[in-house]
Subunit: 131 residues, 2 copies
């Protein structure tokens, strides 16, 4: 998976790493059971501090997207392990709030936001789900 | 408008200020033409650094949500001034991407995300638009 850091971005680097891993999984570039690179290897690869990658992996674990095992490393959870909990639904809703609010204030209608949301979903869609 | 800072949050403080101002405008608590508190006053009120509030106001200006005038301060743009530009549409789409990707990876369907998005929109809806 290709992760590109934008040093000038307002988004903290660990959050850029988290988002790009999530998008990579959404696109099917990595699958449940796959192991992420070690913290050391990914940090060296991206030219960032190990602490940054570590923070990202712990965020992914807190979101229920990976499981960190002392010996085997960071493993992508299976879809069953990732079944939506009420907490995760609330988390998605919480994530949506600032984005939707900004869209509204800029003058977007609910239909425009819906259209963009569906486009983003389709663009990310896992190509061969379940294969 | 009531702004509440969560010091423990992973969201940087200036970004918390930005989001809450945007949500306040979305909810109609502040209207086009209204003036935001001065940087100094809001910083004192929230107990944060003036630099933090300044960064937030400049972010709001970059998004086209307020206009900063040297003498009159930070004024909320009129809806006409806030007509959606192609750049702003792209910005909303870009904002949606990590949220939708996370929802997908957690196992949400496009219908579930659509439902939550509409709920967030309805909850934020300006009570008496145009009045």
């Amino acid at each position: 998976m290709f992760i590109q850091i934008e040093p000038q971005s307002d988004v903290p680097i660990y959050e850029q790493v988290t988002r790009q891993i999530i998008e990579g999984i959404a696109r099917g570039e990595m699958k449940p059971g796959d192991t992420l690179p070690s913290v050391r290897a990914l940090a060296a690869d991206l030219g960032v501090n190990m602490h940054t990658v570590n923070k990202s992996y712990h965020e992914l674990e807190a979101k229920g997207i990976i499981v960190i095992r002392p010996k085997s490393g960071a493993i992508i959870s299976s879809t069953e392990e990732r079944a939506l909990t009420p907490d995760q639904l609330r988390q998605i809703e919480k994530n949506l709030k600032p984005v939707v609010a900004e869209g509204m204030v800029l003058g977007a209608t609910v239909e425009q936001i819906e259209h963009m949301m569906k486009k983003v979903f389709a663009d990310l869609q896992i190509p061969a789900e379940g294969v």
